[in-house]
Symmetry: C2
Subunit: 295 residues, 2 copies
């Protein structure tokens, strides 16, 4: 979605507020998976698999594995520079938003990528066999286990990063990307102050469904929904979760039957093809999404 | 020299005591250049240039450079795993000698590689323009500047690493490698206790000249000698520096004219071809060196 909006509106017009609940330390290095994906997408250096640096090599990880370290999180060699640089800067007292600005400048990204908060928040997944960090559950465990509960440790005292509330207040249009409503968007909305800032911008805020035909377009969103106590995995359920912040909801034309239920929430429902298999389609959908609220 | 002795005596019979005064932190990672070279040599993974991991790539370093970090120290991607692993282990409270044993085990090295000390020692080079860390002087600056003085910060309180004094006491033969007498061997000898331990093993200790025809075989040893106050760069000067610890001195046949001066020091002088351009020559010289004291 970030790529589409950047294409349509221009990178300099885009501020993305990014989930940091998935951030983890690997080998003593701070890894921010969502910030990194957004940065690499906008820098044009994202790998075809959807994360990591394009065509990266894994010599360092192979070496760490030789030394007996667990190497399930696929950190590429070029990607490591990102985590190493971030770790050095954090150690020198810089904040995550400052570091994100530095990285964007270095990679020629004109958009502003803001962490939801500079404070540590840890998304924890409780399964029947224990409590896991988000990446452990998703990447190491392959999201196979049932989720009993989800917590965002540290969220109560987290403060929105500098610029986050200001960007929400100043934006001409706000797009809630079709990401996980629980462990991606949900985490951002749980940072004290962010949901309230969005509520007053509801008329200019449009959410895009991550669900088609009762199934997530990608990822195990249904598991996270269930883990958060929502047994329904549908576009309507998404619109319900965002009804207080997004006055407009884009759902797939294949889910047209759900329009009445969504409109009943007081949300404007707009039918579009929400699949974005390539850059052209991303721009097409972004254009439609931005148009949906500027009407 | 380490490779030659390992070939002749067998890795399991070799304990190397290694200089750590050149150790530096790069990007927050502990780099031990001399330990790494010895480890990679014995693992058969040393690069053809004489340091670093064989055929390494430099994607991470390129990335760090993109982020604006100084990238003059050529850390390869596979090599980074070594420094990252060491840094993690140090952070967990392990000592350098323990970590060296772990790395050797992981890489199939049967020799024992011991840091001269587990304590931090910093070789500092004072030039007309300032005080530099060893690697800054050698690698970043290309060893171009005159040296006014050399210090080993921390050496007074450094303690030999566990096993160092024991290895010196137990060795059948001790070889002082043809390395820098000031900033490599000299640093090791400056660790309190090591020189004294060698003095009592003088009869079984043989030093190999790093000089032929008044010039170092490799590296800027003459600069370090001058910086330490020795204006003579000769095999005899080397023998003089080691006279109290090495009862036998191997010098190149081209320096045969220096034999009387060396014998006058009470040191047995042995003429050999000290060049080791390849593995076969290393084994040949090691064989001759070990034979020189077992007579």
């Amino acid at each position: 979605m970030v790529d589409g909006v950047a294409q349509v509106a221009g990178q300099s017009q885009l501020t993305a507020i990014v989930n940091t609940g998935d951030d983890s330390d690997f080998y003593g290095l701070r890894v921010c998976p969502d910030l990194d994906i957004c940065t690499y997408v906008l820098a044009g250096t994202i790998d075809a698999r959807g994360w990591g640096y394009a065509s990266d090599t894994f010599r360092c990880l192979e070496g760490l594995s030789t030394y007996g370290l667990d190497a399930w999180f696929g950190l590429g060699d070029r990607d490591l520079a990102t985590h190493l640089f971030r770790t050095i800067r954090l150690g020198a007292g810089h904040t995550l938003d400052q570091i994100s600005r530095e990285m964007c400048a270095a990679l020629g990204v004109d958009a502003t990528l803001l962490p939801m908060t500079n404070d540590r928040v840890h998304t924890r997944i409780t399964t029947p066999t224990g409590v896991l960090a988000f990446q452990e559950y998703l990447v190491k465990g392959g999201a196979k286990e049932e989720i009993l509960s989800i917590t965002f440790d540290g969220i109560e005292t987290a403060v929105p990063a500098p610029g986050v509330l200001e960007a929400i207040a100043a934006a001409s249009t706000i797009v809630v990307a079709p990401s996980s409503p629980i462990v991606s968007i949900g985490t951002i909305l749980a940072v004290p102050g962010i949901r309230d800032a969005l509520i007053v911008r509801r008329a200019d805020c449009v959410a895009v469904s991550p669900i088609i035909g009762g199934r997530p377009v990608e990822g195990p969103a249904h598991r996270f929904l269930a883990g958060a106590g929502y047994n329904e995995c549908s576009a309507t359920q998404m619109a319900r979760l965002y009804a207080d912040v997004a006055g407009t909801f884009i759902l797939d034309t294949r889910d047209a039957n759900e329009v009445p239920a969504i409109e009943a929430l007081g949300v404007q429902a707009v039918l579009r093809d929400i699949l974005m298999p390539d850059r052209t389609q991303r721009a097409r959908l972004a254009d439609e999404v931005l148009a949906a609220v500027s009407v």
